[in-house]
């Protein structure tokens, strides 16, 4: 076994060891639990760093596998690791973001009674995601895919005593499961056709051995899983509800793990999907519609975490657009920068929420948000990246996506994507201006009141510093990451030697102008003197409720699928309780009563028995005499 493979195994299994250690032995020792989890993920980060240094070389691909349960003539199921620049970079991003979130959670979750359990689940989540990223086999990938779903279920429903998080966790699990059924079917079809599911062989077979029709069917089925996991198209409504989990969990869920898994899968199997161009075209349009729809929802949401959730959906759509347009480098580059700035946004939002004890942006603005320096820095840096303001990471990666779209996506798609970018800039600006406070009269009053009560108590505690450190590191990264574009392009699309992720031209100017317009509009509505602090979409009641309630998709699902399912399960429950249980209860009751009736014959009087014996013998004798001797 070579060095990189060992490093990959170490990176993958250390978090599981930490998780098991915490969940079994450290349930009542919070400090030890946090230390164990952080130590575990630090080992992972070091190992993945080594991987990036050794494996992230253009064109390199290392496959190390071990046969699992070999069956003669059966499908060859080998489990192992597949190391190439994509998996190495992704593993590093996962380990890095997880570490940031874990350090931050030391402050954010301090004093929570489930603190050790929280760290156990975080480590479990990291293990599942790293396993998914490094998997060499599609079946193995599916296993970890489901484990990622399980871990996010556990973390979204972390405060399961309250009904809302429990319901949100259930919804997340079930909705992603709808897509996972398609994924499973796709994997089974592939294994049936090829007898093997090793990723490089699948990609090679897509253009050679498999029929084009089968490739298309499998591509659609696999994309169902992607749509569920990455919250696209009709299956996105679980993601806004998933905000019921702790804020650092949202940061992890939205940046490097859960939702990124879908995008990662498309990047991983890009060669396979590329063999089904019609399906990719469909994915492109689905992602476009999702991007625009979720951007409109973000424009009216009042809860800062919901704004961020919708923005995640929208940004994931951009990544999928880039992948559908054929550029792995642009899509993965946007995934990486997004992981950085979305984790940053959630972590800084968490600082405000921790301070104001409310998710509502207008309420946060009444609790002197400007005093939380780290939060302000993080929010502004993250929102600039999200909007695509020039020197930040988001600007470069979004330009790369738009360039990819402009190359192969067609003019209409490009125009719509740019419109989406303008909307993104608008809601990012709205979020910052609403949260940090405008010049509304209500805030002036709150400020004068707040200044007397808050002055003495505001001194950064240990927990505050633990929360500020990751935010500041990520803020700095947001400024730097954008320049890594060529690094990604060289490693992820080595065949396109001259592909430029980004070049300055008319298209870039247009995009910049749209972003500026979006930001200016948000300034006009939320920040200038005498600003109404109510957005244009919020003023129209019909639009407000339409956008605010996920385009009524939840109502549609409630009225159709959910209602039918509930009715069906009621019928099944009735069948179970009344028909099946009734039958077995009836048999039992009949036996008991039959026994009681028969027991009456056994009265204990010898003479009664004797009388019965004599009468039976007499009757037999009479019968024998009457029938006569046998012939």
């Amino acid at each position: 076994m070579s060095g990189p493979v060992l490093a990959a195994l170490l990176a993958q299994w250390t978090p599981l060891a930490a998780s098991a250690l915490i969940l079994v032995f450290l349930r009542s020792r919070p400090a030890a639990a946090a230390a164990t989890a952080i130590a575990g993920i630090t080992v992972s980060l070091a190992a993945t760093g080594l991987l990036v240094a050794q494996v992230a070389v253009p064109g390199l691909s290392v496959l190390a596998e071990a046969e699992w349960l070999p069956v003669h003539g059966g499908p060859g199921l080998a489990f192992g690791v597949l190391l190439d620049p994509l998996s190495a970079l992704m593993a590093f991003v996962v380990a890095f973001i997880t570490l940031a979130v874990m350090v931050y959670s030391v402050g954010y979750m301090r004093g929570d009674p489930g603190f050790p359990r929280y760290y156990g689940f975080l480590a479990l989540f990291a293990w599942a995601m790293l396993g998914l990223v490094l998997a060499s086999n599609l079946l193995q990938l599916l296993v970890f895919w489901e484990l990622v779903g399980l871990a996010s279920f556990l973390l979204i429903g972390f405060w399961f005593e309250r009904p809302a998080p429990a319901a949100a966790a259930r919804k997340a699990f079930l909705m992603t499961r709808v897509g996972d059924v398609g994924f499973l079917l796709g994997v089974l079809l592939l294994i049936r056709a090829l007898g093997i599911a090793t990723i490089p062989e699948l990609i090679e077979a897509a253009t050679t051995r498999l029929e084009p029709g089968l490739v298309q069917v499998v591509a659609v089925l696999l994309l169902m899983g992607v749509i569920g996991k990455s919250a696209q198209g009709p299956l996105f409504t679980w993601l806004p509800d998933a905000m019921e989990g702790p804020t650092p969990v949202s940061a992890l869920l939205h940046s490097a793990t859960m939702v990124a898994a879908g995008v990662f899968l498309v990047a991983r199997l890009h060669g396979f999907f590329a063999a089904a161009p019609a399906v990719m075209q469909g994915l492109l349009w689905l992602a476009l519609v999702t991007a625009l729809a979720s951007a409109t929802m973000a424009m009216v949401a009042g809860d800062i975490k919901r704004v961020l959730a919708y923005s995640s959906i929208s940004q994931l759509s951009y990544m999928l657009m880039a992948l559908a347009a054929g550029s792995v480098a642009a899509g993965f580059f946007h995934l990486t920068t997004h992981a950085g700035f979305k984790a940053l946004l959630f972590l800084s939002a968490g600082i405000f929420i921790h301070h104001a004890h409310s998710n509502d942006m207008r309420e946060i603005s009444e609790h002197e948000p400007l005093k939380l320096t780290a939060g302000v820095v993080g929010l502004v840096a993250g929102a600039s990246a999200l909007a695509g303001v020039v020197p930040t990471a988001g600007y470069f990666s979004k330009e790369a996506v738009l360039t990819a779209l402009g190359g192969t996506g067609g003019r209409v798609a490009l125009a719509l994507a740019m419109l989406g970018a303008a909307l993104t800039a608008y809601y990012s600006g709205r979020m910052v201006f609403l949260t940090l406070g405008g010049r509304s009269p209500s805030r002036q009053v709150a400020k004068s009141l707040g200044e007397e009560t808050h002055r003495h108590e505001h001194r950064p505690s240990y927990g505050d510093r633990m929360m500020a450190a990751p935010v500041l590191v990520l803020s700095a990264l947001t400024l730097v990451l954008g320049y890594l574009g060529p690094f990604f392009a060289a490693r992820l699309s080595p065949e396109a030697e001259h592909e430029e992720l980004f070049h300055f031209g008319a298209q870039a100017v247009t995009a910049l102008a749209l972003v500026t317009a979006g930001l200016a509009l948000s300034w006009w509505e939320f920040r200038r003197a005498l600003a109404p602090r109510v957005g244009f979409a919020e003023r129209v009641p019909a639009l407000r409720s339409f956008f605010g309630e996920n385009w009524y998709l939840d109502r549609l699902y409630d009225a159709t699928v959910v209602r039918w399912t509930v009715a069906l399960s009621r019928a099944a429950k009735w069948n179970d309780h009344t028909v099946l249980d009734g039958a077995s209860d009836g048999v039992a009751r009949g036996t008991v009563w039959g026994g009681r009736i028969l027991a009456m014959v056994q009265n204990g009087y010898v003479q009664a028995y004797l009388a019965a014996v004599v009468s039976v013998v007499a009757a037999l004798g009479i019968w024998l005499v009457r029938t006569g001797p046998r012939p």
């Binding site: 028969l598 014959v601 056994q602 204990g604 004599v614």
Partner: protein, 102 residues
Amino acid sequence: MTALAAYLGFSVLLFGIGLYGLLQRRSLIAMLIALELMLAAVAVNVVVLTTYAGRDPGAGQVMALVLVGVAAAETALGLSLFVAIHRAQATIDVETVSELKG
């Protein structure tokens, strides 16, 4: 009416009286006496039918004597059981001996 019918009629009468007593009396000792009557009816039948079947009449009489011996043994066993029951329950009424009912 032939002599055989008379013998057998006597035997049936004896058996019927015994059966009536067995089912009617409540005292265990009276029931045992009734049982002896039924056994005697059987012994009469053996003697009569052996003779009328043309076999050696001595065989039937020997069998009757064996039956008397068996009856004596049975009576000894029954009486000792009744004594034990009387010691335990201070009565030998058959209706009080009903603890094994279902």
